[in-house]
């Protein structure tokens, strides 16, 4: 019999102060005991926590584990099924009904065709930053607006609607408003998307949402798809841009190497994805009893996968806690694995490569405008990790003109 499992109590609440980019100490400790630990969900339900890379990957590829929202066994009341179109929290065959028609719109080639547009949007925001002379909050000046504009264009949100729309999604993704404000913003976004879908059906334009109206998806489903594209695509990328910049600023030798050698850009983006793993954790629920690393996961039990800890697994990555933009490796879990692996990953890569590169080229003296310890991080309870704001500045006479 296997020795009794290590236990992680509740959700670890704090990251180590010395290195805010590392997973919480409790999870690192758990991994030292093996790839899987006992865990209690915040709602009190017993579950498991997976912190090993290989085990996480095999669970993600295993059809005996479900992504369904209504099967999540974490609180003591039952959750409703995912609304139509929100396929992140569905299993096959429903999942495919929504993912399949989208795949052709997010191919590597399609995303490359967007490169110029992403460059343009980035340049506009860098110009605006340069004009202020600094310091600026990189989150509001750069990290949030670029992915928001890109996803708005993909969805076909008309130009004049963007400011108010952005405010709404900011409120419901930012996580720092009251419950009432959150619900109000969420409802407003839903209503806006419903109107947008109706408008695209009546007058198709050149965007993904209009293209999708040609298929057999209902308006309700299209609204759900739009919401998931926004929810999954915007906050994640925004936080990778801001937290990624912060991580580079705190690793000056890595930043200098990247600045010197543009061919390191793609590798740096992969390494930042792995090292930061802003989409920290996801859930899967066992559909039947499953043996994992000598433990029995009983049918109906929900496991948490710590992508961040798995991406720091020393059995998979040499010196895993070092940020090393020259690292060569095949694969990480920042975009998950299996049938739910991020649909927008090629878009996210494109945005990060273009925007981070342009930022460091434009401002060779970019630096924090406050002491590093004062940079406020999102609480560990936020779904997506990141900085709340990132005050940066630069020497004006050193900025490279556009």
């Amino acid at each position: 019999m296997s020795p009794s499992p290590h236990t992680v109590g509740t959700l670890p609440a704090h990251r180590p102060a010395a290195c805010p980019f590392d997973p919480p100490a409790e999870l690192r400790e758990a991994r030292r005991h093996g790839p899987i630990s006992r865990y209690t969900h915040p709602g009190g339900k017993p579950g498991w926590m997976i912190t090993g890379y290989d085990l996480a990957r095999s669970v993600l590829a295993d059809p005996r584990f479900s992504s369904r929202k209504d099967l999540l066994n974490v609180v003591d009341f039952s959750l409703p099924p995912a609304p139509p179109g929100e396929f992140l929290l569905m299993d096959e065959p429903q999942h495919s009904r929504y993912r399949k028609p989208l795949v052709g719109r997010f191919t590597v080639r399609r995303m490359r065709m967007l490169t110029e547009r992403v460059e343009q949007v980035t340049a506009e925001h860098l110009d605006a930053m340069a004009e202020t002379g600094g310091p600026v909050d990189l989150v509001t000046a750069f990290a949030k607006p670029i992915p928001t504009i890109v996803i708005c264009e993909i969805l076909g949100v008309p130009y004049e609607d963007r400011p108010s729309f952005q405010e709404q999604i900011d409120a419901f993704m930012g996580g720092e408003v009251s419950d009432e404000e959150l619900i109000a913003a969420y409802t407003a976004t839903q209503e806006y998307l419903a109107r947008l879908v109706a408008a695209k059906r009546a007058n198709p334009t050149d965007d993904v949402l209009s293209e999708l109206t040609a298929g057999d998806l209902t308006d309700e489903e299209l609204k759900g798809i739009s919401l998931i594209l926004l929810a999954a695509g915007f906050d994640t990328t925004a936080n990778m841009l801001s937290l990624g910049t912060y991580a580079l600023l705190r690793h000056p030798e890595q930043l200098a190497a990247l600045r010197e050698d543009p061919t390191l850009t793609d590798g740096a983006v992969e390494e930042l994805l792995r090292y930061l793993s802003v989409a920290k954790t996801f859930h899967r629920t066992a559909l039947e009893d499953v043996e994992l690393a000598g433990r029995t996961i009983e049918a109906g039990t929900t496991v948490v996968l710590s992508f961040h800890t798995a991406n720091r697994d020393p059995e998979r990555f040499a010196d895993p806690d070092a940020l090393d933009i020259r690292r060569t490796y095949d694969g990480h879990l920042a975009f998950s694995h299996g049938i739910h692996q991020c649909l927008g990953q090629q878009l996210a890569r494109l945005e990060m490569r273009v925007a981070l590169r342009a930022l460091i080229d434009r401002f060779p003296t970019l630096r924090l405008a406050v002491p590093a310890e004062e940079v406020a991080l999102r609480p560990e309870t936020a779904d997506i990790f990141g900085v709340k704001s990132l005050p940066v500045t630069w020497d004006e006479d050193q900025a490279v003109p556009a």
């Binding site: 993600l60 590829a61 993912r99 399949k100 989208l102 795949v103 052709g104 719109r105 997010f106 191919t107 590597v108 080639r109 399609r110 095949d330 694969g331 975009f335 998950s336 694995h337 299996g338 049938i339 692996q341 991020c342 649909l343 990953q345 090629q346």
Partner: protein, 73 residues
């Protein structure tokens, strides 16, 4: 006819594009449906390395290699 060494299963493919990024000479994504297309069924040694990496990172297990010796059996 020698059976091809690499094969893809378009039913399993979820169009994540990892193959097209990792081994662009061997895999592409169909411009219409976004699913994998095999460009080279029998990659040379230099392409094979990348193609094997692609098979390893493919999230849906849609790429398989037939090992020499077991081919066609």
């Amino acid at each position: 006819m020698t059976p091809s060494r690499v094969s893809v299963d378009r039913e399993r493919c979820i169009g994540a594009g990892m193959c097209a990024v990792t081994a662009p000479e061997v895999f592409d994504q169909d411009p219409g449906d976004g699913l994998v297309i095999l460009l080279d069924t029998d990659p040379t040694a230099s392409r094979e390395r990348a193609a094997r990496t692609a098979a390893g990172v493919c999230p849906s297990g849609a790429i398989t290699f037939r090992e020499p010796g077991t081919a066609g059996s």
